[in-house]
């Protein structure tokens, strides 16, 4: 009997979220009258605390955060000391595997968890008023979003095919429920049905690929798979066959062509608050899934999967940008723009290994991660604006609803302009540096033609982003209802929009954080 009690410390944040989900479930059952407010408040608290705990249990991340905090004026140095002392007495390695190798605690996971937890928290805050207007802000919604976060965290920290799949399913099932949350709306139900059927298909593909990889290597643990392939102990044909299915599953979850068909329909059909949720944090989790499966597990097959990703990313960038031009619905337009952005993330992932030379890997993967993070920031702001313009009984869904926004509220028009410029990749906003770093990685890897295609399509894509700006500034408002929103939404949305501009001027911090996370984890 060689059973070892697992080390729970690296999974402290996950345990916190799981326990709080149960607490919220009980609390909202027994305190019916305040259930919605209670569930919302507790969920937000949990998300913020879980993000804090994720920092505390990841020694590298903690050191990086403390270094930033100690630069702050006033109590900065003291605060950094307190933060460091909280994690004292636990001499952690850079990378810890626990739960019999099912779970891995590293800085990459820590950083992605912090970003995705905060993204969920922001998305909940933006969506609260929207849900309340439509009478669907029931406690179950907040519970589902917490369970979704738990699934994402498990997925981000997975070191084993089974824990990865479990996290993925936990996230996806919660999302299906959230898309169908507005039971009165036939469109939302249809979207949920499409999402569920296609999502189940993709999960099936992924599982099939995993079983083949398991058959070829005899291991489900990602490091075991990597070792087995390294020692050439596995049947190459079966491996590549399995790899194709795994890439298809990952591509579906990221929403890239040709596995993108669900994206526009689901984005359009779901309540905007849920669209905001789907388009933000799960993209980070899907990026983490791609990293864990392809880079941690199947790095030896990089030559094969890089070719597949090249095909996927070129198609996504071309089709995403061209199809977005034809959209009059802004949620659909942003969905297609999301497809092309995910194509860019794949561009970063495919530039890692050139002719067996792995010196580019770190740079390429950190550029992809930086792109994913900045896409999430932009996506939150863009769908946040769509929510801001909606009110009870009115959905600001078409681009025409943005007509003359400048006359109605010039501050929010300016913010939307920042978001659109950033998504189009106009300097000097964060989207520009995200595109630049990915393109640098691609050119360094020698795929100049890929970079040329990506730049050309971005220029074409700029058209539909600029059309929104034109509509806001140069057309008369159709609807002159003043824009009303709670103070915290206004504040956070402004901060979100300004963050895009400020990070665009000073992208170095976030970029080096991403690079450092990968350096400490790979």
């Amino acid at each position: 009997m060689n059973f070892v009690v697992p080390d729970f410390y690296p999974a402290a944040a996950e345990i916190l979220v799981a326990v709080m989900a149960l607490v919220i479930m009980l609390a909202s059952t027994f305190a019916r009258r305040v259930a919605s407010d209670l569930a919302y408040g507790l969920t937000q608290l949990t998300l913020v605390f879980a993000a804090l705990v994720s920092v505390l249990v990841s020694p590298n991340l903690l050191a990086a955060v403390a270094a930033v905090i100690s630069e702050l004026p006033l109590f900065g140095v003291r605060l950094a000391e307190v933060l460091m002392s909280l994690a004292e007495g636990y001499a952690a390695n850079e990378v810890v595997a626990t739960f019999s190798g099912m779970f891995i605690g590293d800085m990459l996971g820590g950083l992605l968890k912090v970003f995705s937890l905060l993204a969920v928290a922001i998305a909940l805050l933006y969506g609260r008023g929207y849900l309340a207007d439509r009478k669907i802000d029931r406690p179950e919604y907040y519970l589902l979003s917490l369970l979704m976060s738990l699934g994402m965290m498990v997925m981000i920290s997975a070191n084993h095919m089974l824990s990865l799949y479990m996290g993925l399913e936990m996230m996806s099932l919660s999302l299906y429920g959230m898309v169908a949350f507005d039971r009165e709306s036939p469109r939302a139900t249809e979207a949920a049905m499409k999402y569920f059927v296609l999502g189940a298909l993709a999960s099936g593909l992924l599982l099939y690929g995993m079983s083949m990889i398991y058959g070829a290597t005899g291991s489900l643990e990602l490091s075991g798979i990597a070792q087995s392939i390294y020692h050439q102990a596995a049947n190459k044909t079966v491996l590549v066959f399995g790899l194709v299915f795994i890439v298809a599953g990952v591509a579906f979850k990221l929403g890239v062509v040709p596995f993108h068909m669900w994206v526009p329909d689901v984005y359009q059909g779901a309540p905007t608050a849920v669209t905001l949720m789907i388009s933000s944090a799960p993209k980070l989790a899907a990026f983490a899934m791609a990293m864990r499966l392809l880079v941690y597990g199947l790095f030896e097959l990089a030559d094969q999967w890089q070719t597949m990703l090249m095909f996927l990313s070129v198609l996504s960038i071309v089709l995403g940008n061209l199809a977005a031009i034809a959209q009059s619905n802004i949620k659909r337009m942003l969905a297609y723009s999301g497809i092309s952005h995910m194509g860019f993330v794949l561009l970063g992932l495919l530039a890692g290994v050139v002719d067996g030379d792995r010196n580019f890997a770190l740079n390429a993967y950190s550029s992809a991660m930086f792109y994913a993070v900045s896409y999430v920031i932009m996506s939150l702001a863009s769908f946040g604006m769509v929510i801001l313009l909606s009110r009870a009984g009115f959905e600001a869904e078409t681009i025409d609803d943005f007509k003359g926004l400048n006359k109605r509220n010039s501050w929010f028009a300016a913010l939307m302009m920042i978001v659109m410029f950033s998504m189009a990749g106009i300097p000097f906003f964060i989207g520009f540096f995200a595109k630049l770093s990915v393109l640098q990685a691609v050119v360094a890897a020698g795929y100049v033609w890929l970079a040329v295609v990506a730049v050309l399509m971005s220029v074409i894509g700029a058209f539909y982003y600029l059309r929104v700006v034109k509509v806001m500034y140069f057309e008369e408002p159709v609807d002159s209802t003043p824009i009303r929103a709670q103070g915290e939404v206004r504040f956070l949305l402004s901060a979100n929009g300004l963050a895009i501009a400020v990070l665009g001027l000073l992208p170095q911090g976030l970029m080096s954080l991403c690079a450092y996370a990968l350096l400490a984890s790979l």
Binding site: M1, F3, V5, L22, M25, L26, T29, F30
Partner: protein, 124 residues
């Protein structure tokens, strides 16, 4: 070699006997007074022959899902129970193994309480 399979043969025989003996006994011993209602095919809760695309109560799903949940709980508990004795014999981690299964049951109990409180178990 072949005698190793003797328990399997016994198992098959006992299984067959278990299934067949009550049926045969029922034929022989029980009173036999058939009627049209008694001979008609029976399905719980539904008319046996009608359009398959009818509406039926969503509670059927609920009961089925609840059944699967607690059925799976048992399916997890059995293998646990078989290895737990070895853990007690080994000593050191028995409390951890016991605790982990208690956490598993506690999670299910919380779900059960929530369902009960929300009226998922009331038929009307």
């Amino acid at each position: 070699m072949l005698e190793n399979y003797f328990p399997v043969l016994m198992f098959i025989l006992v299984g067959l006997g278990f299934g067949l003996v009550p049926v045969i006994l029922g034929r022989l011993v029980a009173p036999n007074r058939p009627g049209s209602e008694k001979l008609s095919p029976y399905e719980c809760g539904f008319e046996a022959f009608e359009d398959a695309r009818m509406k039926f109560d969503v509670r059927y799903y609920l009961i089925a899902i609840l059944f699967i949940l607690f059925d799976l709980e048992i399916a997890f508990l059995f293998p646990w129970a078989t290895v737990f004795q070895e853990f007690i014999a080994a000593g050191q981690v028995a409390w951890f193994v016991f605790g982990s299964v208690m956490v598993f049951i506690a999670v299910l109990v919380i779900g059960y309480v929530v369902e009960w409180k929300n009226g998922a178990l009331d038929w009307e």
